[in-house]
């Protein structure tokens, strides 16, 4: 099957019909869950970043702050990915050929890799080198801000 055929098959699936043919407030509900999830996700990343830079909670061990923040990151990720997947499934052709969507997915992959490969390791150590911490924070924040920005542009191009 070609990509176009796969996208068409998704668009004609029962799940896609359930979302796109229902009341348009279902779509609005998914958008709301997506935004709330992103807020939880990004604010937890900002909080870990502030701790790693020594700008907040400096008396608390990095690993302890990281543990609670990671819970919120997971909650935010589950909410955004679940709502985002349903949004994609309801109109896959619109999203797949949208350059802002493509950029968002690339930035999302980068952000998750930075999270898993770098930030998690930096947070496991209670006294990471300041240069490593700063670099990781910068990469992480730039990629997540990029995800949000690109995501907001999808609907306009």
């Amino acid at each position: 099957m070609s990509t176009a055929q796969v996208l068409t098959a998704i668009q004609n699936s029962a799940v896609a019909h359930a979302v796109s043919k229902s009341n348009h407030m279902v779509g609005a509900g998914l958008q709301i869950v997506h935004v709330l999830g992103f807020i939880l996700l990004l604010s937890s990343i900002v909080l870990i970043s502030l701790r790693l830079l020594g700008l907040a909670f400096a008396q608390q061990p990095i690993s302890k702050v990281g543990r609670d923040a990671t819970r919120l990151i997971w909650l935010g990720l589950i909410l955004t990915v679940a709502s985002g997947t349903l949004m994609f499934v309801s109109s896959p052709r619109m999203y797949y050929y949208n350059p802002a969507f493509e950029l968002k997915m690339l930035l999302l992959i980068a952000a998750v890799l930075i999270q898993v490969l770098l930030l998690r390791r930096v947070c496991a150590n209670d006294s990471p080198s300041p240069a490593v911490a700063r670099t990781t924070v910068a990469l992480s924040l730039i990629s997540w801000f990029g995800v949000g920005l690109a995501g907001r542009i999808i609907g306009f191009i």
Binding site: I39, L42, V46, F57, Q60, K64, D68, R71, L149
Partner: protein, 169 residues
């Protein structure tokens, strides 16, 4: 002032040079929307985290006073981005915002969240249990956290509903 007068006023605002420039630019409007989202993820997001701490659900090892004092600067910086971008968005689509029922409700819930925050700051945070950083916080502190979480969630919901609810009827 009736609704028609308000909408006419909105139309004059968005027809001004700045309003029209934002509305007509291909990228200005979506980029400002993106800045609005990032700003509120920082400000409202850190407020959510503070609320969860007040409710005793997360970061219980961090003293409440530290959470409030350490995050304040970044909450305010996030709000600066939100109000700046929100002001520009209003400038470019004032009449549509005035006509949507979601917009006045968003403003109402924001005002209530502000009153709640002010009451917490001026009255509840002054209690000995908060000042002395006792592990068990009074019920009114938990309630203030829950109220803030609830009201800001309503602000976000109303904001996202603006394009979905363009008219009252």
């Amino acid at each position: 002032m009736d609704m028609n007068t308000l909408v006419a006023l909105g139309e004059r605002i968005e027809q001004s040079s700045v309003g029209a420039a934002i509305a007509e630019s291909r990228y200005a409007f979506p980029v400002i929307e993106g800045v609005h989202l990032i700003g509120l993820s920082i400000s409202v997001g850190l407020i959510f985290i503070t609320d969860l701490r007040l409710m005793g659900l997360l970061f219980t090892h961090v003293p409440v006073r530290d959470v409030i004092h350490h995050l304040r600067l970044y909450v305010l910086a996030g709000f600066a981005l939100v109000f700046l971008s929100g002001g520009l968005l209003f400038w470019s689509e004032a009449s549509a915002l005035i006509e949507s029922p979601a917009f006045p409700f968003k403003m109402l819930f924001m005002a209530l969240a502000g009153v709640n925050a002010l009451y917490f700051e001026l009255v509840l945070a002054k209690q000995d249990a908060v000042q002395e950083n006792r592990p068990l916080l009074p019920r009114n502190v938990k309630l203030a956290g829950a109220a803030s979480l609830f009201l800001w969630t309503l602000v976000i919901i109303c904001g996202r509903l603006i394009p979905y609810l363009p008219h009252w009827t």
